[in-house]
Symmetry: C2
Subunit: 344 residues, 2 copies
């Protein structure tokens, strides 16, 4: 490429980038709501005096009474020019919240605004026990204890680094997966998104996700990691309302005895890179593929995309945050269009 051509190409690229950045997002509405949950009675505890603000006026707080627990938070953005045939629900993975789909840890656009710009009504939630959904006393209401992750843990377990011991506080000293697409310099921002999680609240999460669908109506669900089992199980509970499933590296699947219920729901499964190098991911992926095979055997349609085989290399478990997140979102958008899920 000659110097002139290169300069022209660079100018064109800049113009296109600026045009995109300048493109406003026009919303016909935005807002939030909570769904689901239940009331629990607690009795037999002593009354406390709580000074909520240092130096403030103490208030009596009687811990006995009724508590609202296990609700879920949903934030929605409805585009002015709607092009999706159904709303798109984004369900995050374990130890995370809806922040997963917002700005990436290195400050780029996340999938929430990507799909919003494409004309989808987007519903982004914080599952039961996470973020703006709140959480309940344990062991009184939640049965287990919360799990906290060290700074290093997701780096080594989410196929950003090359396994145990690969993390170092200094970004330059980290043993990244070769060709990793994760924005390494933003890793600390990603860690700030991590929140405590329980491993004993799955039933409550599923109940709340069902309540979300019952409120929103017919929809498409995009879900990741822990939400793998939520996405498939909720679709099995509401097969008529779920119009498509997009499973990003699902860590769990639905009920194998009820695959029949998924046969009319077009499904896309997406897996990133380095599966073979990891100690757990080959088995996790195999579970997903076996579930897909069972759906197909029941007459359903599942497309599995292993990104490296499709020429998209270097993706971690956090595909929606990776440097090529827009490329993968484009692949999903194309799949949705191909399934006739955009407005005519």
């Amino acid at each position: 490429m000659s110097r002139m051509t290169l300069a022209a190409a660079a100018a064109a690229l800049m113009a296109s980038t600026c045009a995109h950045a300048a493109e406003p997002i026009a919303l016909r509405d935005m807002g939030s709501f909570h769904v689901g949950g239940r009331l629990v009675e607690i009795t037999g505890k002593p009354v406390k005096e709580v000074t909520f603000t240092p130096g403030g006026v103490p208030a009596k707080v009687d811990p006995n009474g009724t508590y609202q627990v296990e609700q879920m938070y949903v934030q929605y953005f409805l585009p002015q020019n709607e092009k999706g045939a159904y709303p798109l629900l984004l369900w995050h993975g374990g130890g995370l919240t809806g922040v997963t789909y917002e700005t990436t840890p290195d400050g780029r656009e996340g999938w929430l605004t990507y799909f919003l710009r494409k004309g989808w009504s987007v519903y982004n939630s914080d599952a039961v026990e996470r973020g703006r959904a709140g959480w309940a006393q344990y062991p009184d209401i939640f049965k287990g204890e919360p799990v906290f992750l060290t700074t290093a843990n997701p780096f080594e377990r989410f196929r950003i680094g090359d396994g145990p011991g690969s993390y170092d506080p200094d970004p330059a000293k980290r043993r990244l997966m070769p060709g990793s697409q994760f924005p390494n310099e933003g890793y600390e921002n990603f860690v700030k998104q991590n929140v405590p999680r329980w491993t004993t609240t799955d039933d409550a999460a599923i109940a709340a996700y069902i309540a979300e669908i019952d409120r929103v109506g017919p929809c498409i669900i995009l879900f990741q990691s822990q939400a793998g089992s939520f996405g498939f199980k909720v679709a099995q509970a509401r097969p008529d309302k779920v119009k498509a499933l997009i499973a990003i590296e699902p860590a769990g699947v639905g009920d194998p005895a009820k695959v029949e219920s998924l046969k009319n729901i077009p499904t896309l499964m997406v897996y990133g890179d380095y599966i073979e190098r990891d100690s757990r991911w080959p088995k996790i992926r195999a579970t997903g593929v076996a579930f897909a095979d069972a759906i197909r055997a029941a007459g359903g349609s599942v497309d599995i995309v292993d990104l490296p085989k499709a020429g998209i290399k270097g993706n971690s478990h956090m595909i929606m945050m990776d440097k090529n997140n827009a490329e993968v979102a484009g692949l999903i958008q194309t799949w949705l269009e191909g399934k006739g899920l955009t407005k005519k």
Copy 2:
């Protein structure tokens, strides 16, 4: 008013309502980030095996290591047609999150979109320990225990109901304050917004709010209840960056020894109704008024609006959720315009 005039007025009102509902929100950008926080080392704990997903592949979780704690979550919406001279930061009260300012519990527009439609860049946060900010182990990192509120507690303490015993699960049987503006039928949705809180994390919250201002730059802060002390103290720490303060029923104030630092920051304090009927609010309000007097004595400017005296009656502590929330927002907007804080 004749029947014809009434019909014409109703038609005009409907047209104006529909026009408002149809008016799109045009954003030049939206997204989120985390600010602040620190790293804490935990040692000497046994390694656990955690099965994150029921039936999934167990992972070893070593609780020893470095934890990211005390960061804060900020979500921002930047209007295409910016009319505010500075970004508007919204800081919620105790046991709540940024949801405070979104859709009201009965499904109307909250202050976030109200001010966004008026052309303000709005930054809505979840303070340290709340919502999408996450929280840390106690007593290892956070020193105290979290406080949980019963369903009845905010109703009786936030001047929605008329004091202790006024709550009933049946909305029709509740003893509301006379003429209450709180959307009683939506009270259960409000309770779903409540999250556990600590009373030992104020210093961390202040540090994170300062980090927010250092990132966003010169700004206006609107804060409520618990954030009263945060708003004033942070302004005292960054007096050159804070261009106005709007204190909605502040439950705490700043450092009385440093009121001098607030003298160049125009300040508005807003109090709702029923203050005299409550056991704690007369003292809380008196503390706010005394602080305002001290700022004035130091040469500063504070406007105190007691809503009932301004003819706006029936407001609870949750003014941004009350049925007349848009009327009070209008009062704040007018004050901001009067202080010359909108673009020329």
